[in-house]
């Protein structure tokens, strides 16, 4: 293929991707139109290379006529790579800076948005348990991908990851032994079922669904990186409106409120670890 052909193809692909996203939105209501284009392009080309399809236009036809193919694309577009106690310093700072405030509340509502397969939700459950807060907490764990939500409910994870999770747990300021929280069977571990008791898993789409009210804590880590700035801003609005006064927001360590309209409406609890507190509205 000549190089001019390559550039021409690039322009066509860009157009085809816009049409594909529009088709998915019009047909199914899932809105990826404001996702990072570089990210989507990677995922779409990856799927194309695994499929029998030759072009993105063929993919558009496929997704319109085949609901199962939509499920495949949903899986491709949502990155479900996560860990228990991912970024241990985040959990350590949460223990030190946020937990003392939560201890003054009679009950606590936590929303974990974009919870994926649940590793970080259970991490938070363990943390709250160790801090004596779990019994008065309700955790809402949401994701738009129902398939990963099912995985999250099962709380079964590969045993190969446990070594890293144990390291993370220790670094995060864990107060017990990580082995207390799981039972190993063959190639998997299943987490302590009691950790699920206060977690409600639900289908919620950050792009198209509304406010999830009166939260004391919202955790949403490494989800916003896949959105463009406009969409990030919309989601920060959603979080702002879903938080109580003085409620806490924790985002991914490389994500930032800085480029959004909501920077001035939060106090910074930890700049490096991206923990913010909603200012009191008067």
């Amino acid at each position: 293929m000549s190089n001019d052909q390559t550039i021409n193809n690039l322009e066509n692909e860009e157009l085809e991707i816009r049409l594909l996203l529009e088709a998915i939105f019009l047909k199914y209501g899932y809105d990826f139109r404001d996702y990072s284009k570089a990210h989507l392009k990677r995922r779409i080309m990856h799927r194309l290379s695994l499929s029998e399809l030759n072009t993105i236009s063929q993919m558009q036809h496929q997704v319109l006529y085949d609901r199962w193919f939509l499920e495949t694309l949903l899986r491709d577009f949502s990155i479900n790579v996560t860990e228990m106690f991912r970024d241990p310093p985040f959990y350590k700072a949460f223990r030190q800076e946020v937990v003392p405030v939560l201890k003054t509340y009679p009950y606590i509502k936590v929303w974990h948005a974009g919870c994926s397969s649940g590793e970080e939700v259970y991490s938070m459950a363990i943390l709250l348990k160790e801090e004596g807060l779990y019994e008065r907490t309700q955790i809402y764990a949401t994701d738009f991908n129902v398939e990963v939500l099912e995985k999250a409910k099962q709380a079964i994870y590969p045993i190969d990851d446990i070594k890293e999770y144990t390291y993370n747990y220790q670094q995060s300021g864990g107060l017990a032994s990580f082995a207390d929280y799981y039972i190993a069977r063959y190639d998997s571990v299943i987490l302590d079922q009691a950790l699920k008791r206060k977690i409600i898993f639900a289908d919620h789409n950050l792009v198209t669904d509304g406010v999830f009210g009166e939260m004391h804590v919202i955790i949403c880590r490494n989800v916003l990186i896949y959105f463009n700035r406009d969409l990030q801003n919309n989601v920060f609005k959603l979080f702002y409106e879903s938080l109580r006064n003085g409620g806490f927001l924790g985002i991914g360590t490389k994500e930032s409120l800085r480029f959004s309209d909501y920077m001035g409406k939060f106090n910074i609890i930890s700049e490096n670890l991206k923990i913010y507190q909603k200012k009191f509205e008067v």
Binding site: N3, S36, A38, K41, R42, S256
Partner: protein
């Protein structure tokens, strides 16, 4: 239309190689530089600090949705892939490792090739694996300029060798000459002063 950005991929021995290249560039270097250096997922930002101290251009870890601008060098943060969007904004991703690496050089190079086309210069440096070969090939296909460190000047030869065998690269240059070489071609053929169009 001139060059609008440079991408560099490095692995084993990259810390010193990057310093040797970046320290000869002037403070007002005309295009942004984006770097994927393989690094432990648990490391802090010492590499950015080290390079920033040694160089006149500003060296920093990339922030999510930051715009890549001239006079700046952006490092992919440990444990994240770095991609660049068509409008010059940087996106990060935690998708699975590519060729065991996160950040992956291929991921950065492929996205940059599509964002900047012929306005891009891609450089593969020292390393003990073959990450970056596919990305450099993509840069060539999209009409960008491809440069590989002369393997005989590399602490680890495998990565530059793999890149050379995968692509008909434009230049193979000894490490100590790369900085001056890119300074010269950027001066002759840069786009606008903002580093993006």
């Amino acid at each position: 239309m001139g060059y609008r950005a440079i991408v560099i991929g490095s692995s084993t021995g990259g810390m010193e190689a990057l310093r040797i290249i970046l320290e000869v560039l002037p403070k007002d270097f005309l295009v942004p530089i984006l770097v994927a250096q393989h690094i432990s997922p648990h490391s802090d930002n010492y590499l950015a600090k080290y390079l920033d101290n040694a160089c006149e251009v500003i060296v920093k870890e990339a922030e999510e949705k930051e715009k890549a601008i001239s006079g700046h060098t952006y490092l992919a943060p440990p444990n994240y892939h770095m991609l660049v969007e068509k409008d010059g904004f940087i996106s990060l991703s935690v998708e699975a490792r590519v060729s065991y690496a996160r950040p992956s050089i291929d991921v950065l190079f492929e996205s940059a090739a599509e964002a900047y086309n012929r306005g891009l210069i891609g450089i593969i440096l020292t390393g003990a694996n073959s990450d970056g070969s596919k990305g450099l090939k993509r840069i060539k296909e999209c009409q960008g300029l491809t440069i590989v460190q002369d393997p005989s000047t590399a602490q680890a030869e495998a990565m530059p060798r793999a890149a050379i065998s995968a692509t008909d690269v434009d230049y193979i240059i000894p490490l100590r000459e790369i900085g001056n070489f890119i300074s010269k071609i950027i001066k002759e053929k840069s786009g606008d002063n903002s580093g993006y169009c």
